[in-house]
Every structure is written in structure tokens, then in C-alpha cells.
Amino acid sequence: MTYARRIAAKLGALLLTLFLASLLVFFSRFLVPGDPVSFLLRGRKPSPEAVAAVTEQFGLDLPAWEQYVNWVFGIFRGDFGRSLQYRQDVATVIGDRLPVTLGLVVLAALMIAIVGISGGVIAALNRGKLADRAMLIFLTVLGAIPSFVGSIVLIAVFAVTLGWFPTFGSGTGFWDTIYHLFLPALALAIAFVVLIGKVTRSSMVEQIGREHVEVATSRGLTRGTVIRRHVFRNAVGPIVTVSGLLVAGLLVASTIVESAFGISGLGSLLVQSVDRLDFPVVQMIVLFVVAAFVVINAIVDLLEPLIDPRAAAGADAR
């Protein structure tokens, strides 16, 4: 299979997944108890005319499949529907919060990469020694801290007691945003560090034991060069694969962290919208997270052969 065909196949699978996801996301709302109309009328005494008018405004009087078709075609036109709670275009509601969540996830991913990969590398290079064990214990302890506990402790210590960081808000401008998102991103990152750390360590350890590494060492290359060019480069594959999964996990976990830090990202919006039966918003967020997950994993799959030529060779041999 050529790389181009591989891309085409991936794209096909991606579109099929998204289509199935859209069906699931849309129709699952009919399984949830509760009536969006009664929410729109906010539990107050409605006149029958008001119920009819509101039902029609939001297209809730149409058959389910027609609502689905309208929704999907709307998405292609950039019309994501209207939020029931905010009486505002879903695109605007989500668009306002997307940068915050993306900033949070990117910042957390960087922290995870820096701490996790360097921790894993240090452990692998000192395999069996004190530093290895210490690093493993350190990463495991971090990994055992749930995001909400991390959030509470970080706010209590660094924001309320020491006053080094703000207790809420997402900031304006580049540096201010980073300043505001630093603690939340840290709370988000600590739970995931262990995963990257352990994958890095085992992948490195596996490579160190390989024949080509011994060959490279015996050829008189310095330890640094061997580790950079022969060990780490070959060990990157699994790390990238896990990173793809991790980004989706971060999107989901950001919900808790956003609530605790009072920042307005997609996660806190999702929680609120589920509670308020704001289906148009819930559906778009879920679809977005699914799409992000699928797309990132497709990219990771396509990147692998570029990073590690053996993967491409293996694919061709099949």
C-alpha cells in the first residue's frame, strides 16, 4: 500500500467514524429524560401559544430525522444551531470558549511532555539505579492525584495562601493568558505525567537493549550521540501514539479543572449545558471532542511511518 492510498483509507475511515458519531450524538438526546421546551419556558406558567411558538422557533416540532438532517447540513454551512440557554448561535457560544480550552490543553500537554519525557529518559538511562526508582515513584505519585484534588491543593497553596497566581479567570493577551492558565494546566497535567513517563521509559529501555545501539556504541560514538540518534529517535513512536490518546483525555478532564478554577472553557460549558438540557450546545461539544480525538489519532497514524521508517516498511510488506 502506498502512503497516498494509506492517507485515502484513513480519511475514509475518519469520515465514516464522524458520520456514525454524529448519529449517536444527535439521537442520544431523545433518550435523555426532560423536555427542552419546559426548560426554555424556565418552569413557569406557559400559555399554550407560547409553548407552540417556542417549539417551532427551535425546530422541535419536526420529526427526529428531519431535525438531524437540518443539523448536519447546518454544520456544513457553518450554522451550528441556537443555544437554548443563551439564545445565541452555538458557534458563538462555543467559539468564545474554544481558545481557552485549547490553550489549557496545549499548555498541559507541554508540561506533560517536558516532565514526562525527561522523567522517562532519566529513569531509562539509570535503569535499576536509585534515580530510576525515585523517578518512577515520583511519576506514580503524581499520576495518582486526581485533577480535582490537584486543583484544590494548587489553588489553596499558590493562589489563596501565597497569592502568586489568580484564583479565577482566563486572562487577556498572550502572557496574561499563560499566567492565568498555568495552575489549571498544571492540575490537568499531573494526572497524565505518569503515562508519558512510563511509556518513554519502557520504550527507551527497549531501544537501549537493541543490537544497533550496541553496534553504534562499539563504533566509538559518544554516549550522548548514541542516545539522541539511535535510542531516542527510535523510541519516539510509542510516545507519539500515546500522546494522541492523551490529548483526548485532556479535553475530557479539562471539565473538572475548568470548574474548579472558574475558567470558561468547553468543559465547564458542557457540564452546564448538560444540566440545562441545552442539546444544541452539548451535541456540538461532544461532536467536537470526538472529531478532535479521531483526527488526532489519524494524524498520529500517518506520522508514525514518517518518524520511524520501519513502520512504513512493515506496512508495505503486509
Binding site: 418552569g43 491543593v153 479567570g169 438540557l277
Partner: protein
């Protein structure tokens, strides 16, 4: 207008468990001490805080939730109204003591029993600089009658036949029956006047985060960063010098998580908040960044009896259950003892214009239900209800929900009744208030019910047969006749005598079980001063009065 609790705390509901853990943890690490919810708190009611020393550049206020909309037609909740009250004005003004005075209507009259005539004030400007006219009033009020709008305030307008401009500055509202309550509602969001041109121009986007509003209040809407904050600023051309804004800028920041809000208050990053979480009040007080204040409220917490076909159909069982509940204990546990146990469904604060003798009768010439398990048990036996099963529905919304439901179940058990607690999601709980099918098989649920007009009849109208919020379908033809007569009685003194009878009847019959009345709890940071911590913050421009301490 009516309930508070089902809607107001929903934003924070999902993370309620987290909140409790958070309070405990931050309490310990920051203070080095422990804050027990059971410790009684010193409290007094504050009417008004000291006048400001002068203007202030900027104030940041925490809101427990983001408003749904700033459209007055949907402003039905604490989050919307606490912002809107400073930006948009109504025909009448509901003052901190719950008196009604002229505002955008310079005067009003009731020339026939079914007409209300309002003279629209001259020289008032909207925030865009255009002048207020009678046509603006007609356009704004007529929206409540438009089914396409689906106004949350339709109930105030339910008896309205027409709204017409009858003079250059005159608007006449005609009702189908004499309705004293219509005019009383004009001090709230139902009486807000918006520019007709703005309504036409913004259409469906009116009041949302992109459209915003264009009203006449002392503060104007600047921007709404969705999910994060609403920014207001002083309106230089405001008509009433008495209430000119003391701050240049005023930001509302949304903090759905009570722990996040508590932390922001303790760190001094925000200057205040309404609806202070009582479980955090002690530790916030100790942090020393401002004052915890208690003010006048109109709310009574109740157990709504939602099924009179079941064991609670017998008034003796209702009385017994109320007597078996240790209401003092509940108040202690859920509110650090702040508030008072009550046997009636209204607070004295809404009896402003009443005949003092009628008020006295309404609050003292009543039955009391002291905590008496033995007497209660006897009543249950007399009713032959021993062993009867009841279902109470609650939701993980805030600490008081859990405390009230546990205490009720325990009380019922002590007198031979068997209460099952069913915990549902906050939105399923909210459905109890709007969807009769959601109440099937449900005997009891907890609510806090506040009044947004200065008249007890707003409460007692609810218990009439077939009223939307008469959740248990309690019915008494004599009571219905009495209430209908009261609503049609325009003279507040005469009306209050009828209201007192209505209060005595519901006190005796207990269509709902009243538990306690608790004051409005708020926090005011040490940079600012100059407001009244009254529940009128939902309709009165309180933010304009805040200035530098």
C-alpha cells in the same frame, strides 16, 4: 417571580461534591483551623452600610452563575436580575425596604378597577442617547403578551387585555378583571422599559451576549465575554442624581463553582458577591478581606406537599410531620443558625403597605408547630397513617437540600411514617416545578420561595385551585373566593385584612410545610461600601450605590 432554588444553584450542582471537599481543604490549609457547619454564627440584619467616601474606578463582583440572557422577558433568576437591575429600569422602583416608588413612570393611577394609567417620565435618556417615550413603554410591555417571545413574566400579564398609548406620555393598561397584583409587578423585571428601536433592531439577538441591551439605568452595558464576565460602566446622562453610579466600571465575573468563588473572595480578588454559600461563610469571615452581611429577605424555605391523594392528604399527618421535624436543628446545620423558624408562608418584609393590625393577626394569631415528637406520633395514629409510605425527591444542589431531606426522613420515621429519599439530577428536580408528570408519586420536595413584589398575595395566589404552582392541587373553594377577592381589592389596607385570613388558613391547613426564613447573605469586600444587603438587589440599582470605602 416565585421559586429560587430550583434554578439558581444549578450551575454549581454537578461539582457539589467537589465543593464540599474544597471548602474543608482550603479551610484547613489557609486558616489552620476547622470550620464546623454546626457552629452558630453571630448575625444581625443590616439595613444599609456606611456611605462611600467617594467614587471608585473599578469594582469586580462575583456571580454564582452566568445569566442566561439580559432580556428582561427572561430575567427570572438571580444571575440575570442582579445584573439587569443596574442597567434596565422599570416603571416603578422596588426599594431595599420593598416599598414601591415611581421610576420611569412619574406617576400612576387606577381610575377604574380594570385600568392602570402610567405617566411616562420626561427627560429620561436611553444609553444610546435617544429619549424615552410612551411608545417605548408600550413596545416593551407588549412583548410579555407575545407568544413568540415566551416571556417568563407572562403570569404578571395574564389578566391584561390591552396596553395602549393614550396620551403623549401616557400608557393605559386594561385588565380583564380588577388586578391589584399587576401594578405591584411593575417594580420588577415585568415592568422594564427598553427602547422600541433597539428591540426592533436586535430581534432574536436582543439581550444575548452579542446583542446586549440599551436601557435607562445608572449603568450601561459595555460587553459580555461569554462564559467569563459582563462589563458595565457608569451612564453619564442618567436622569436621577440620587442614584448616579459611584463606580466608573463594574464587572460581573461568573464563578459557578462555590469553592472557586470562596477562594476569590478570600484572596480579595473580587469585591463582593450575593448568595454567599453559607457553608463557607465562617471561613470567609475569618479571611478578613471584607464583611459577611445579612439583609432583608422575602424567602421562606418549605417542604412542598405535592401529593394530597397520599397519606399527606390528611391534614393531621401534615401537621404531625411538621411537628416531628427539628426545624431549629435544621437551621443550625444548614445555615449556621442564621435565620428563624416560621409557621407561615410569607415574611413580614412583604407586608409593607398593610394594616399593622392585619399583619399582627397574620403572624401571631396562628397555630404554631413546636418540635413535639410524642404529640406528632399521636396525630399520625389518630389519622390511621402509621406505617404509611412517602417519597421525598431531592437533588445534589447544595448542603441544605441534603440536610432537609435527611432530617425529614428521620423525623417521619420517629412518628411511624416511612419516607424514602429519591435523589435526582438538578434538571430532573427542576422539572418538578413545571411538569405535573414529573411529580407523579412524589409526596414532598424542598424549595426556597421568594416574592418579587411587596405583597403577600403573590404567595397566597399560588394556593388557589388549579394554579400552575399549586403542586399538590390543594383546594378549598372558600379560600379561592377569599384570594380572588383580595387580588381584586385595590386598597392595600383592605387587601391586607384578606391576606391575613389567607395566611391563617394556609397556616392551619399547611398546603406546604414552612420550615424557616433566612436572611439574604452576601459578602462586601473592604474596598467598597454603600449598599443595602436586601433581596431587592434583584430589581434595585444596588451596584450604582457602591463606592470607595
Amino acid at each position: 417571580m416565585f421559586t429560587s432554588s430550583p434554578l439558581r444553584r444549578r450551575g454549581s450542582a454537578i461539582v457539589a461534591g467537589l465543593a464540599v471537599a474544597g471548602v474543608a481543604l482550603t479551610g484547613c490549609s489557609a486558616q489552620g483551623g476547622s470550620d464546623s457547619a454546626g457552629t452558630p454564627m453571630d448575625w444581625t440584619l443590616t439595613d444599609q452600610t456606611a456611605a462611600p467616601s467617594g467614587d471608585i474606578d473599578q469594582i469586580t463582583w462575583a456571580s454564582y452563575s452566568e445569566p442566561y440572557s439580559l432580556d428582561y422577558a427572561y430575567a427570572f433568576d438571580y444571575a440575570d436580575n442582579q445584573v439587569l437591575a443596574n442597567v434596565c429600569e422599570s416603571l416603578l422602583r422596588l426599594n431595599p425596604d420593598y416599598s414601591l416608588t415611581p421610576s420611569l413612570a412619574e406617576s400612576f393611577a387606577n381610575p377604574t378597577p380594570t385600568t392602570w394609567v402610567y405617566q411616562i417620565r420626561e427627560g429620561v435618556k436611553f444609553h444610546d442617547g435617544t429619549a424615552l417615550t410612551a411608545a417605548d413603554a408600550v413596545a416593551s410591555m407588549s412583548r410579555h403578551l407575545d407568544p413568540e417571545v415566551g416571556s417568563s413574566w407572562y403570569s404578571v400579564y395574564q389578566n391584561v387585555a390591552s396596553i395602549e398609548q393614550t396620551g403623549e406620555r401616557e400608557v393605559t393598561v386594561t385588565t380583564t378583571i380588577p388586578d391589584s397584583q399587576f401594578n405591584l409587578g411593575m417594580g420588577g423585571a415585568a415592568g422594564v422599559i427598553e427602547s422600541a428601536a433597539t428591540l426592533a433592531k436586535l430581534g432574536a439577538d436582543y439581550g444575548n451576549s452579542t446583542g446586549g441591551v440599551n436601557c435607562t439605568g445608572p449603568m450601561q452595558f459595555d460587553s459580555w465575554k461569554s462564559g467569563e464576565k459582563i462589563e458595565l460602566s457608569r451612564f453619564a446622562d442618567y436622569w436621577d442624581p440620587e442614584l448616579a453610579a459611584q463606580s466608573e466600571k463594574f464587572d460581573f465575573v461568573f464563578m459557578a463553582d462555590p469553592t472557586a468563588r470562596t477562594n476569590a473572595l478570600k484572596s480579595g480578588e473580587v469585591d463582593g458577591t450575593w448568595l454567599l454559600p453559607m457553608d463557607a461563610a465562617q471561613s470567609i469571615k475569618k479571611a478578613g478581606t471584607g464583611d459577611v452581611l445579612f439583609g432583608m429577605n422575602t424567602a421562606v424555605s418549605n417542604l412542598v406537599v405535592s401529593n394530597l391523594a397520599g397519606p399527606l392528604g390528611d391534614v393531621r399527618v401534615r401537621k404531625a410531620l411538621l411537628m416531628a421535624i427539628d426545624r431549629e436543628g435544621i437551621l443550625q446545620a444548614m445555615n449556621s443558625g442564621v435565620g428563624e423558624v416560621t409557621d407561615v408562608h410569607s415574611t413580614r418584609s412583604v407586608w409593607n403597605d398593610a394594616d399593622p393590625a392585619a399583619t399582627e393577626a397574620a403572624f401571631t394569631d396562628i397555630e404554631t408547630y413546636p418540635f413535639d415528637v410524642a404529640a406528632a406520633q399521636k396525630l399520625v395514629e389518630e389519622a390511621g397513617a402509621t406505617g404509611a409510605k412517602l417519597k421525598l425527591v431531592t437533588a445534589p444542589i447544595s448542603q441544605d437540600f441534603a440536610i432537609v431531606s435527611q432530617a425529614t426522613a428521620a423525623a417521619a420515621k420517629s412518628i411511624g411514617l416511612d419516607v424514602t429519599i429519591d435523589t435526582v439530577t438538578p434538571s430532573a428536580y427542576t422539572a418538578l416545578f413545571s411538569d405535573p408528570s414529573a411529580r407523579e408519586g412524589v409526596d414532598l420536595f424542598y424549595t426556597i420561595w421568594y416574592l418579587s413584589s411587596p405583597d403577600p398575595m403573590e404567595m397566597y395566589g399560588v394556593f388557589r385551585t388549579d394554579e400552575f404552582s399549586n403542586y399538590g392541587n390543594w383546594s378549598d373553594p372558600d379560600y379561592d373566593a377569599l384570594v380572588t377577592e383580595a387580588v381584586s381589592t385595590m386598597d392595600p389596607i383592605k387587601r391586607s385584612a384578606l391576606a391575613a385570613q389567607a395566611q391563617q388558613i394556609t397556616n392551619r391547613e399547611l398546603p406546604w410545610l414552612p420550615l424557616a426564613e433566612t436572611p439574604t447573605a452576601m459578602f462586601m469586600g473592604d474596598r467598597v461600601t454603600g449598599l443595602s444587603p436586601s433581596i431587592s438587589y434583584l430589581y434595585y440599582p444596588w451596584a450604582a450605590t457602591l463606592g470607595a470605602r
